[in-house]
């Protein structure tokens, strides 16, 4: 009985948590006159698809933003996972001089707020000719200190005897890495990939600083752009917000287990 009551209370508050999303979806199907009607009409009298049509086929089409975001997020994530795994292997399973110093440098970089790096990166990218291109997001996105930490944590948990046995059989580090450690690390790699993808997909700050041309806009910038240009079209705003959120909700539903475990292990063990 107690359990039922607890469930109901928790369910009630969880609905409070997602009410903004429900209101967003509901509003995206309303007519302008219904937006601020009170009491709130959760299910509109007539489903009005025109705002969604406008979001996807209008001048600021979300098709473009999706493609841009997909390009940036996929390339960054592939790079980040490969390079993190490689470095994490070096940091955890090869002993060499200077390793701990290098790791301390990595640690200290976590303290530097992104704001410190924005201006110099802006100047450097301008100089290198990648400012206002997708490379300004993809290249730095391929290097994640968090990813190295996470993978290192996992590699450290693999018994050293496995490597020793492989050494005796004549295998080198590259063989051990690619044939033994990586296959074992599949769940960790998937976790890192999903978390990293969600960061890149939602990244607003870097896109805001490094992109100017409308053709290059990713979903968060496209969304902002749409809303600034249609700032009285509240239904359109909510249809756009829905378009901005749906992919991440899908990713979350598919990779829920990985995301939650990854987030939990990053804080508790890291």
């Amino acid at each position: 009985m107690n359990k039922c009551i607890a469930t109901l209370i928790m369910l009630f508050f969880s609905i409070v948590m997602i009410v903004p999303f429900l209101w967003m979806i509901s509003t995206s199907f309303k007519t302008p006159a219904e937006v601020f009607q009170y009491p709130i009409r959760w299910i509109p009298a007539h489903f009005n698809w025109s705002h969604h049509v406008k979001v996807w086929t209008g001048d600021n089409s979300f098709v473009l933003y999706y493609l841009n975001s997909l390009k940036v997020a996929v390339l960054s994530t592939i790079g980040a996972v490969c390079l993190s795994a490689l470095a994490a292997y070096g940091f955890s399973r090869i002993e060499f001089k200077g390793r701990n110093t290098m790791f301390m440098v990595y640690l200290s970089m976590m303290m530097v707020p992104p704001q410190v790096l924005f201006v110099p990166k802006f100047i450097m990218f301008e100089w290198a000719g990648i400012y206002n291109t997708h490379w300004a997001l993809i290249l730095p996105g391929m290097f994640t200190i968090f990813g190295v930490f996470m993978m290192r944590q996992f590699f450290l948990s693999v018994p050293q005897e496995i490597s020793e046995a492989a050494f005796i059989d004549g295998a080198g580090h590259f063989r051990i890495f690619s044939r033994i450690i990586l296959p074992m690390a599949k769940p960790s790699l998937a976790t890192l990939a999903i978390i990293d993808f969600s960061w890149h997909w939602n990244d607003y700050e870097n896109a805001l600083v490094f992109l100017i041309d409308h053709d290059l806009f990713t979903v968060p910038l496209g969304l902002q752009n749409f809303i600034l240009e249609n700032n009285v079209d509240y239904n359109g705003m909510m249809a756009a917000a829905t378009a901005g959120i749906i992919p991440m909700i899908l990713v979350f539903l598919i990779g829920q287990k990985y995301i939650i475990e990854g987030v939990a292990s990053s804080a508790v063990k890291g």
């Binding site: 928790m10 490689l86 070096g90 959120i245």
Partner: protein, 293 residues
């Protein structure tokens, strides 16, 4: 033989770490050093005549009223961290024990954290509309005749941002607490129950102390994460009305990329670095002193 093996290890180590290290040097270390240099210059966007100005930017910062407003707003923003952690603890304790639909509930609470900050920012902007927004609609209907202006007035705007941020971070904090609560041994809780401890007593004198390392960790990392955050605020209010939601990180962004005062922005960003370093040192000391693993 041994020496050549060592040499080979050295070489292999660099080969594995090298590719990542190049990126860290290019995108973290060099920019950090460069920024440190810019702090002492009058660098402006596209201005070829950059002069070395010594301490001028730091003096300007210390005499800048908006800098102090930004610090005050940042402190108001940080209020959201303990509130979100407290709520998350309560939710986690209940979800960890006697409920049905555990997985669904966990996912629902976690949902805000995974969604795009910009999208939710715009949703909240409408929810918080002072005259006809749904939140004030509900407040009026329960008898509050003069509900707050939320994002539209200077004295309530920062609290409205706090509410959004509490909502955003709650799921994250809850997940971390759930992970920590799973480590608490069930025997301990059984023993407490047999000794006649009530639920509230168990929570207060067993669970809360046992998860104290997690609380500490969430507090410090939450403070650091919140101090760095400006995207949601930039999307909703751009720091307004007045400068009432200009937090330090947004102040830096605006100086750099709205006014192109990049030397000045670099100086303020190093002030932000000092604050983050203080929190990091506290975390480091705190782990040694009173957090028991």
């Amino acid at each position: 033989m041994k020496a050549s093996w060592m040499k080979r290890q050295q070489y292999l180590g660099y080969l594995f770490i090298g590719p990542n290290m190049i990126g860290v040097i290019l995108f973290f270390i060099i920019p950090a050093i460069y920024s440190f240099y810019l702090m002492f210059t009058d660098y402006k966007f596209m201005n070829p005549n950059t002069k070395f100005t010594g301490m001028a930017n730091i003096k300007r910062m210390l005499g800048d009223d908006i800098f102090y407003t930004a610090i005050k707003n940042t402190l108001l923003f940080l209020l959201s961290v303990p509130v979100s952690i407290g709520l998350a603890f309560i939710v986690a304790v209940i979800l960890n024990r006697s409920v049905y639909l555990k997985k669904l509930l966990r996912a629902l609470y976690f949902m805000p954290y995974i969604t795009s900050g910009v999208a939710v920012a715009f949703v909240w902007m409408l929810l918080f509309q002072p005259n006809n927004g749904p939140i004030n609609g509900i407040l009026r209907s329960i008898g509050i005749t003069n509900p707050p202006g939320w994002l539209s007035t200077m004295d309530s705007s920062m609290y409205a941002i706090d509410i959004i941020w509490i909502w955003f971070m709650l799921g994250y904090n809850m997940i971390i607490y759930l992970a920590a609560l799973q480590e608490v041994s069930t025997e301990l809780l059984e023993a407490a129950r047999i000794d006649g401890a009530r639920t509230w007593q168990t929570v207060r004198s067993i669970l809360w102390p046992l998860v104290s390392p997690t609380t500490f960790l969430l507090l410090i990392t939450g403070l650091i994460m919140t101090i760095k955050q400006f995207g949601i605020i930039q999307a909703i209010t751009q720091g307004g009305p007045g400068n009432s939601t200009t937090v330090l990180s947004l102040f830096i962004y605006q100086n750099a990329f709205r006014y192109y005062e990049m030397g000045y922005a670099s100086a303020v960003s190093w002030a932000l670095f000092v604050i983050i370093m203080i929190f990091t040192v506290i975390q480091w000391l705190g782990q040694k002193r009173w957090v028991h693993y």
